[in-house]
Symmetry: C2
Subunit: 223 residues, 2 copies
DNA sequence: CGCGTTACGTGAAGGTTTTCACAAAGGGGT
DNA sequence: ACCCCTTTGTGAAAACCTTCACGTAACGCG
């Protein structure tokens, strides 16, 4: 029986973020043939406090053996199950421009279990072409394409900013409940639709502050 | 005289991150001709608590007028000065591949005061070409190019993962003290060099967790 | 079989960030 | 000149997250 207890207590949001970090390093250990790892060793690899790891894991169950540590393969499998990354997720790209193209061609997504099954654009010159093995469909027919040919779980938004909201609406209409948003627009979406905004410029601003003030402002968070 | 007091007390790292968020919304208000804004109004726009804004600003000085609010133009100018974004920052790209190309072509960086003045690659087929008006130089000659022709302040790293560390070392050698790192590699760099890591896959993992557990884990943080 | 060693799991302590709540301050109307 | 209304700036309280410290459990060795 898997030693998982229900996650009744409130789980700090940042703990979930760190879970992905732990999984990443467990993956490496696993590939190196390491069978057991202590919270201290894993903490060193991840650059966090060992107690932090134990506490984070405790939110989801008991995975270790006292006196030994954690079984790498099992813990990795558990973390993947918890994160939902124990199976492939299908991505649908909206906006096959400069950035969208780079994302489609990014081979490392597939290695992590994220596969583009569909791509959409509005530009007739792009529609119908094949980018990195993915056929670009007409954005107007998203709902139909999703239903009949290429369903996906997560929408990746990379249109021009002024098209972002309507494109997002279309994603929701098509039944998508999670969006990775690369546009600088704050999307208005119904409850139950999850959004993650990616904005590189915030990071640039932080670097500017650090350079200007000579003090590092970057926290160790693994984002 | 500008009402700025020295930043003697300890400033929460996350407060600086929010400053960029405030500046973004002040920019919009300014373009709409709004002259004054209260912490309540700005808080609504930014999706944070009004007291948070007042506290964050208080770390850097007194910018408001009691009973009125904050003067949009002045506060914006102050924030830019504090962040160091009151002038143009020069970017140098290392690795003109899928992602690097998208970044070079991204017109919105310039609008925010970030301009690519140099680009480097190792691939002879790419070296010498012009991408979005920027000449691609040989990565081996980075130090010379930076000194003699195209200095820059912030290095943008978008090489293959296994080249990341050595490319970063070269950036440091060339005198760069801030790096925006798009590779999944945790760079080892001397103290005084600031790094911000951009990793989209963490965001995808978070979305997976949200979908799987039906509870939103995304914090309102503006990253 | 029991004892020593190790390292987990967790309550409590400690530290940091967010929010509350209110005194103080400024503007504007009369 | 005074009063009223609004909103800042800021201690204090609350919430939150991290780290400590130790009881406890499991393994392995003599
Ligand atoms: N390029 C970058 O490096 C970069 C960096 C950060 C953020 N972004 C953001 O990402 C977005 C895309 O940037 P880009 O450089 O790729 O722009 P782009 O103009 O090259 O690409 C946009 C693509 O979206 C398509 N499109 C427009 N409306 C659409 C719709 N309703 N449905 C489907 N497709 C539609 C366009 O035809 C075009 O192909 C922008 O919002 C930009 O702000 C880009
Ligand atoms: N493409 C994406 O959407 C995406 C997304 C997330 C992360 N990344 C990361 O960004 C990096 C680049 O991705 P990509 O898709 O553009 O890869 P890519 O292979 O298309 O481009 C890499 C470029 O870097 C150049 N290069 C290699 N070594 C170099 C060196 N020492 N100095 C200078 N240039 C060098 C190569 O010649 C190539 O042009 C990778 O680390 C990848 O993991 C990419």
């Amino acid at each position: 029986m898997p030693p998982t207890k229900p996650k009744s207590p409130k789980i700090p949001k940042i703990a979930v973020i760190r879970l992905a970090l732990y999984a990443k390093h467990l993956e490496i250990l696993h590939s190196e043939g390491v069978k057991l790892v202590s919270s201290l060793e894993l903490a060193d690899l991840c650059g966090v406090n060992p107690a932090q790891i134990r506490k984070d894991l405790a939110y989801f169950g008991q995975f270790g053996t006292r006196g030994l540590g954690y079984p790498v393969a099992e813990l990795l499998a558990e973390l993947k199950r918890i994160m939902g990354t124990d199976h492939v997720w299908r991505l649908g790209l909206v906006g096959v421009g400069n950035l969208g193209r780079a994302l489609l061609r990014h081979t490392q997504f597939a290695e992590q279990g994220f596969v583009f099954t569909a791509a959409f654009d509005r530009n007739p010159e792009v529609v119908g072409t094949l980018v990195s093995g993915v056929k670009v469909s007409n954005a107007e027919q998203m709902k139909r394409v999703v239903r009949e040919r290429s369903p996906f779980d997560i929408g990746v938004l990379a249109t021009q900013p002024k098209e972002a909201q309507s494109a997002a609406d279309r994603l929701v209409e098509a039944g998508v409940s999670a969006i990775l948003n690369f546009t600088p627009v704050k999307l208005k979406l119904p409850a139950g639709v999850y959004v993650e905004n990616v904005d590189f410029t915030v990071r640039l601003h932080l670097l500017c502050y650090s350079i200007t003030h000579g003090s590092d402002v970057t926290q160790e968070h693994p984002t």
